[in-house]
């Protein structure tokens, strides 16, 4: 492997191994409803705490939790 190829390979590996921070945006609307830009597993418990009766969130949560036991 050439030196350039080696450096590119190393950089690719480092990028693969790097843990990028997770970012999420909440829009707290004037009537108190909350819009979340990305509903992924780490945000689901919070989403459910805003409305424990929201069946959509329950469904997402049970989907993400499947097979964890």
């Amino acid at each position: 492997m050439s030196k350039k190829g080696f450096i590119e390979h190393k950089m690719t590996q480092e990028t693969k191994n790097k843990v990028f921070p997770t970012r999420v945006t909440f829009f707290v609307e004037p009537d108190g409803n909350v819009t979340i830009d990305k509903l992924f597993s780490e945000v689901l418990p919070l989403a459910l705490s805003l409305n424990p009766d929201d069946k959509r969130i329950e469904k997402f949560l049970s989907y993400h939790n499947r097979g964890k036991h």
Partner: protein, 131 residues
């Protein structure tokens, strides 16, 4: 992964509710079980509540403002007079402040960090968090 999901907020957390009431100018509340509610003439009302803002903190002619826990969520007990007095935005403002404090307290407990807070032109509060 879904994008832009809107959640209809329900008041379930007394701490966040207390903070919301404080933001709206009612720092003194009573909390307990079956607290009696009083009308503007000092008359005892048939309803009871779990969280109460006493009428003296609202106005001389107001009734007590109460929140009763029904199932998992709190329901507001407010007279028509006080809805007129406090303005139709009062309930929305309370819900927004509640949701704001609820989002911040839940995200903090789950080790999220707030990186940006912005009040948008339409009154929406934008919160950007990272982990």
């Amino acid at each position: 992964m879904s994008h832009f999901t809107t959640i209809k907020t329900k008041i379930t957390d007394s701490n966040a509710l207390r903070k919301a009431l404080k933001d709206l100018g009612y720092p003194i509340i009573e909390e307990g079980h079956n607290l009696p509610l009083y009308g503007y003439q000092g008359d005892k009302r048939p309803q009871t509540a779990n969280i109460v803002v006493r009428r003296k903190y609202i106005s001389a002619a107001s009734n007590d403002l109460g929140f009763i826990k029904v199932g998992i969520a709190y329901e507001m007990i407010i007279s028509e007079y006080d809805v007129d007095l406090l303005g139709s935005d009062f309930v929305n403002n309370l819900m927004q402040r509640y949701a704001y404090h609820k989002v911040l307290s839940e995200t903090k407990s789950q080790k999220w960090t707030k990186v940006k807070e912005e009040n948008m032109q339409d009154g929406t509060i934008k919160l950007v968090l990272t982990k």
